[in-house]
């Protein structure tokens, strides 16, 4: 019985991770969700936050991703991210930089999805506390 599925984490500039994993915790746009084997096909956008997955019980990975998209199809999970930083190397300044970017966008005012950005900012501040 297969209790693993294939995961590809790809950023615009390189391949971050490729391999078999047991589960993936995804910071989805409308809430975190866990992908397990035989997950129904779905496409969702990702908000900035921590992407966590486990190759097995002892081998866990954690990346900070700055937004992107996930596609789940026939036990093939592809995560396309703008950028991914290994969880251990996350620098608080990086996150702070993204927050200040959002602040600028919020202040310019011509953004339709103000609420979204505000939520994203909250998420990031949460992530900042976690790291």
């Amino acid at each position: 019985m297969t209790n693993k599925f294939e995961l590809n984490v790809i950023s615009a500039e390189s391949k971050v991770f490729q391999g078999e994993v047991e589960n993936v915790l995804v910071p989805g746009m409308s809430g975190d969700f866990l992908v397990l084997p035989n997950h129904a096909p779905c496409i969702s956008s990702i908000r900035p936050g921590f992407l966590e997955f486990a190759e097995d019980v002892s081998k866990k990975h954690r990346y900070f991703v700055s937004g992107g998209i996930i596609e789940v199809i026939n036990n093939m999970v592809s995560v396309l991210v703008d950028s991914a930083i290994d969880g251990d190397n996350v620098i608080k300044e990086d996150i702070s930089a993204i927050i200040s970017e959002i602040d600028v966008k919020l202040s310019t005012g011509n953004i339709r999805n103000r609420d979204d950005l505000g939520l994203r900012k909250n998420d990031l501040e949460e992530a900042l506390k976690q790291s």
Binding site: E13, S44, S45, L80
Partner: protein, 291 residues
């Protein structure tokens, strides 16, 4: 026959030109390898992005209807042509072949009475197009300060493009660049960035209906700017690789021509020298005979 000193000067000058072209060829070869490597690294992302967008687009037409980014652009009136060229010259026909392709497209669109706007990336294309089509220019993107093309640059360009799209400045955007077929072959190509065409689904997804989160429209609005940035990124990377490939070939040619020229001039030089010696000998001998 030119005198010896002139010939000597010419040979030296051609020799130093050859040194320069040889050096440029080697630099281009090194840069080409680097450009190819980074183009390859970005490929999986671009491919996957294209697949996801295709899956999305086909699902959306089934369910939701129209998204402003989707369509086939058939009834559009306003065209934006993005001409991506290099910042530097001395790379053979690289820039003029792109410009030629763009010009033929402009002529074609003009015949159909379309409104045309031009955006250039890279100095060389701007210089060539500015002469004829200045009134159509709406912008220029300068890459001279970018040593390597980063995704940030591409995002910048795509944000600008989408803003213009939303402001109704154009309805169809096409980008012109040189596709990198191999080191010695670059094919001037064009590619439609916007609107995104509604293709068939990817093979492995043909029978799958996706769950979307949030809904399709929102994901599309989120992902299409990203996919455009990715497309621009890969276009710029291909262009950079093509530029170096083209320059390498051009400089290889120039080096060979310089070599041939040096050989020819050296033969001329030796002949003239021999002629001068023979002349002197004849003068001495005839002088001696006259005594």
């Amino acid at each position: 026959m030119a005198n010896l000193k002139d010939l000597k000067i010419r040979i030296d000058s051609v020799k130093s030109t050859r040194k320069i072209t040889k050096a440029m060829q080697m630099v281009a070869a090194a840069k080409l390898r680097k450009a190819q490597e980074s183009a390859e690294k970005g490929r999986p992302y671009a491919e996957k992005m294209r697949a996801v967008v295709a899956n999305l687009a086909s699902s959306v037409t089934n369910i939701a209807g129209d998204n402003k980014f989707l369509g086939d652009g058939s009834n559009s009136k306003k065209f934006l042509l993005i001409v991506a060229t290099s910042e530097r010259g001395l790379c053979g026909g690289f820039n003029s072949s792109i410009v030629k392709l763009a010009k033929s497209r402009i002529a074609e669109l003009k015949n159909q009475n379309k409104e045309i706007k031009i955006l250039t990336i890279g100095k060389k294309g701007k210089e060539q197009l500015n002469r004829e089509f200045q009134s159509m220019f709406i912008g220029h993107i300068d890459l001279s300060n970018e040593k390597n093309i980063t995704i940030e640059t591409a995002r910048h360009i795509s944000t600008d493009l989408i803003l213009r799209f939303e402001n109704d400045e154009y309805e169809v955007a096409e980008i012109f660049y040189n596709r990198f077929a191999s080191v010695i072959s670059q094919i001037p190509s064009s590619y439609r960035l916007l609107p995104v065409s509604v293709n068939e689904k990817e093979e492995d997804a043909s029978n799958v209906s996706f769950n979307f989160e949030p809904d399709e429209d929102e994901i599309l609005n989120e992902i299409i700017p990203k996919s455009i940035a990715t497309s621009i990124f890969s276009v710029l990377q291909e262009n950079a690789a093509s530029e170096q490939g083209s320059r390498m070939a051009a400089m290889d040619n120039a080096t060979r021509n310089a070599g041939e020229m040096i050989d020819k001039l050296t033969i001329d030089f030796n002949r003239s020298r021999q002629a001068a010696i023979t002349n002197e000998l004849i003068e001495i001998i005839s002088g001696a005979e006259a005594l």
